[in-house]
């Protein structure tokens, strides 16, 4: 694969992280997150929101790094490849969780939610494939 093609694919991966951020926000709305967590003790409820906020922050950070350093990633520079290898593990695990842990069927009540669910899974596969490919370029880390 030509470097410029991989750079483009990596930049798309960066943009898709921001799409996942939007999907995460709409998921919170779909499951009525605030109402449903009202029964929890305050500390646990706050921790719930802190986890959510930091996952959002991490997605934004991964996305921005990926987008702005797509060239370095495509060239297979050592630190960039190290990050790609770890991102591959991250998205591989996320795909496993989406496939085997969550049962979201009761919440997929509209065609839009169903489309969003399958689109999100497609994004996980895409991110896994792009980072895995980018991390395999070059020598031993």
């Amino acid at each position: 694969m030509r470097g410029s093609t991989l750079t483009g694919l990596v930049q798309i991966a960066g943009i898709l992280h921001l799409g996942l951020l939007v999907a995460g926000g709409s998921m919170a709305k779909a499951v009525r997150f605030r109402e449903q967590t009202a029964a929890l003790p305050p500390f646990l409820r706050q921790l719930f929101f802190v986890y959510m906020a930091f996952i959002g922050l991490v997605l934004a950070g991964f996305g921005l790094l990926t987008f702005f350093f797509a060239g370095e990633i495509a060239r297979g520079e050592p630190l960039a490849r190290g990050l790609c290898f770890l991102f591959t593990l991250f998205w591989g695990l996320r795909l496993v969780v989406a496939s085997f842990v969550f049962d979201v069927r009761p919440y997929l009540t509209t065609p839009l939610y169903r489309l969003g669910y399958w689109a999100t899974n497609a994004v996980f596969v895409y991110l896994l494939a792009v980072y895995a490919f980018a991390s395999c370029r070059g020598g031993v880390l």
Binding site: F33, Q46, V50, Y51, V58, L79, G82, L86, F90, V104
Partner: protein, 147 residues
Amino acid sequence: MNPFESKLSCLLRTAAFLQIGIAILNLFLVRLLGWRADLQRVPLLLKEVFQVHAWFISVTLLIFGTITWRFAGVLAANSDPIGRWLAAGVGGFWALRAVLQVVYYSSSHWRRNPHRTMAHILLLAIYGGFATTYFAAAFARPPEGGL
């Protein structure tokens, strides 16, 4: 590697080690703090979301820890643009976490409980230390004449 980079590299490796420790500890937080019964009160999907978020916070910290351990020298040398941005991002992550420890969590969780107060202060120092170390890697340069 000059003395400043050498010390910074050592601090980064310490931060990496501690982050991996926090990542592992975070996986057992529900059991350690006895939250299982409380989590039974929310719908199954939300309980799973909480659990998965906890796992992915751990995975993220493992990523920060592993990449920092492996590339501590590169981060300390400030020689790679992606390393600088990564250090700034991880520093920002921990700076925000330290701020939230003070302004978001209610002090009623730890006030008048010496053990919790100590834990609160210790966590604040660790989070602040991480932020300072990563920001140093991203932005600081040794003064003329070395450190």
